[in-house]
């Protein structure tokens, strides 16, 4: 499993009811169901991903996240997970609202645009960054809203959200100690766990 998924695996409590937005091939949900009795659904738009989910026995629903989550009721899930999809949405901020309407807690991962390799690409070489976490060329990338650790934290502050946990992923591993102290520079993947402020 991808490094960010390993970390998320630990954050999902036993027996939780979850919604996994952009669930890909369903690897995370399959493991959560098998080892932690987690229930729920994956949403995916990629035909091959959907077929792989079905092959694994993961409940998957073909759904375009840009259409919102209106078919899912308020607080109908314990957690909503969205890995590596925030940056590809038309309105990431609205999706964040939707996630925390449907569940009390959201887990979000996205490529950190301020990662030092990305900075080198853009700042020194003058090209749009291409890396493991951002593998596309500028003209065919699905990533239309790239952001950084700092950007996301700012958005959470504006929305009054509580950041319960923050972690970094670099390549296939979890972050090195440098990325722990300076995530915005050394973290390749941003991983956040957020909640609504209790009212």
């Amino acid at each position: 499993m991808r490094a960010d998924l390993e970390l998320i695996y630990d954050w999902v409590p036993h027996g939780a009811h979850v919604l996994d937005l952009a669930c890909g091939d369903g690897a995370l949900l399959e493991r959560l169901a098998r080892d932690k009795s987690v229930t729920g659904y994956g949403l995916e738009i990629d035909p091959d991903g959907i077929t792989q989910c079905v092959a694994r026995g993961v409940s998957v629903i073909e759904h375009n996240l840009d259409d919102g989550l209106s078919s899912f009721g308020d607080r109908s899930y314990d957690q909503v997970i969205m890995t590596q999809a925030l940056q590809a949405l038309r309105r990431p901020d609205k999706m964040l609202d939707e996630m925390l309407r449907v569940a009390d807690e959201g887990i979000i991962t996205f490529p950190n645009f301020a990662y030092w390799r990305h900075r080198v690409y853009l700042g020194l070489r003058g090209y749009m960054p291409v890396s493991k976490s951002l593998p596309h060329a500028w003209y065919d990338t699905p990533n239309i809203h790239l952001s950084t650790f700092n950007d996301f934290e700012q958005l959470c502050r504006e929305k009054g959200l509580v950041i319960v946990d923050r972690a970094v992923g670099v390549g296939e591993r979890r972050g090195h100690w440098t990325s722990k102290w300076w995530p915005n520079l050394f973290g390749e993947i941003a991983i956040f766990r957020v909640r609504r402020r209790e009212r």
Binding site: V54, I61, E62
Partner: protein
Amino acid sequence: MPDSVPHARPGHPTDSVGVVTPRVAKFDSPLALACGKVLPEYELIYETYGTLNAERSNAVLVCHALSGHHHAAGYHSQDDRKPGWWDAHIGPGKPIDTSRFFVISLNNLGGCHGSTGPVSHNPETGRQWGPDFPMVTVSDWVASQARLADHLGIERWAAVVGGSLGGMQVLQWSITYPERVANAVVIAATPRLSAQNIAFNEVARQAIRSDPEFFGGWYAEHDTVPKRGLKLARMVGHITYLSEDAMGSKFGRDLRSEDLSFGFDVEFQVESYLRYQGDTFSTAFDANTYLLMTKALDYFDPAATTGGDLAEALAPAQCPFLIVSFTTDWRFPPARSRELVDALVRAGKAVSYANIESPHGHDAFLLPEPRYEALFRAFMDRTARELGLEETR
């Protein structure tokens, strides 16, 4: 059941179930129908493909659509060139893999292909049932199918599968007999017909019933059939099965001859096609059956029993569902399937849903398409794995 194992023979594709012979099951105990009437006795014609395993755990029920029948796969003779209606999906190595599954496909009650229906003999009157044949609903079909399962010694289906009206039977199975359905596949269906759907059905019915040869449904006694009415009904129906794009790319505005004739004979290719479809159907299908089947479609609405709450209606279901729709299907559009999916999600059921890109409209559920096949196969393979099914031959 060694005699039910057909073998592909030279001349038929190797992934075909080969030559199959329909069988008939007789039922002597009365069947109480939703309309309040009782069928004292009846027969169901069915075909089987593959081999039932010793545990009787590998049986798959295939439910047919409006004008379908029991002949879903294989051929009826050595020289038969036209396979069953779902041959693309049933056979060795196909999504419903007959090397693992034992498949049963029947003609529904009220049908005109060998099961008891309007063309059958009414034991009480000594004449043909004709228009006296009682109205049958999807629930009635499912009840009769359950008796067929009992007859064959099948306690629980590995899967119940169907497209369009067939998909509605799958849904009803999951609600009425949840413990007897291990998996459900509902393709190009809807939890209830829209006003537009019912309107199209009513046009078809009016076409039949207003044909002077209809004789109030007693046409057989007048040695005739309401061919014109059935033809029109089929033509209207056929338009709704195809997408605008499919019609456009198949026929466009192509003419049969070079010049316009400024008359009302067939000029455009699409007219010729529709007339051909209508003509073929009008001699092959029974008008009373067509009327019954369209009413069964109109009446289907499981949420009607729960005050319109579909999720509550689906609450009894226990099996995982695969729901499939097709992008250009405007008869039962993707939104109708999504309605069903959302209700299943609200009810907390295991459900997967895919909307397959296809230019073929409603008919897409009958046709081969790589993504559709891969998805269907993945679900059926998973079913086989979950149930621990092995190859039976």
